[in-house]
């Protein structure tokens, strides 16, 4: 494994881990349900995407890389669908959107 690919995959893995932690922090600290859906998608898109890319570089041209691509495609399609269903259900069941000018909810 050439050194450049090794370093690139390590950098991607670290960036993915950083995005995961940032997404997790966003999930905990953001007030209100809908801002948290943003944090959850940061976690899905950034964290998972970069970690998968880092692993893909490590795997090279093997069957493992194909499985990683399948996971990537699964996350690519499943995560936005789930986020949409979540926001739709929350809105339908009366989770209030903060209008601008209104005090952000403390919950």
């Amino acid at each position: 494994m050439s050194l450049a690919v090794e370093i690139a995959s390590w950098a991607l893995l670290l960036a993915g881990g950083a995005f995961c932690v940032i997404g997790g922090l966003g999930l905990v600290r953001l007030r209100g349900f809908f801002p948290r859906t943003h944090a959850s998608s940061v976690l899905d898109g950034g964290g998972a995407g970069l970690i998968l890319a880092g692993l893909l570089l490590q795997a090279g041209w093997t069957l493992v890389a194909v499985k990683l691509l399948v996971i990537g495609v699964l996350i690519f399609f499943a995560s936005p669908t789930a986020a949409h269903a979540l926001a739709n259900a929350a809105l339908a069941r009366g989770v209030k959107l903060e209008q601008d000018g209104e005090a952000p909810s403390k919950r």
Binding site: L13, F33, R36, K67, L86, R107
Partner: protein, 93 residues
């Protein structure tokens, strides 16, 4: 070694998502945290698969991801409509 660092970051994110799942006021916060925990578990499986040199963990990750999505959608349907639409009764006669 980098896999251990990535696994540690994933562990921290899992803990935070779990904290949101426990503290979430509305049920949808919990469903959102559950969805995030599912994706994080998939990533943890993949990274640990590479760490332990076991490529079959990736199959587990794919399966877990599929089940997680179906579970989230089912929970949402239940909390939105009120029931999962048993095949027996027809809500709209």
């Amino acid at each position: 070694m980098m896999f251990a660092v990535a696994a540690l970051a994933l562990l921290v994110a899992l803990g935070l998502a779990l904290a949101r799942a426990v503290a979430g006021p509305t049920v949808f916060d919990r469903a959102l945290a559950g969805n995030s925990i599912g994706t994080l578990a998939m990533m943890m499986l993949a990274v640990l698969g590479f760490l332990a040199g076991r490529p079959e963990f990736l199959d587990l990750a794919i399966l877990y991801g599929l089940l997680n999505v179906i579970g989230t959608i089912a929970v949402l349907k239940f909390f939105r409509v009120g029931d999962l639409g048993d095949p027996g009764e027809d809500p709209r006669p």
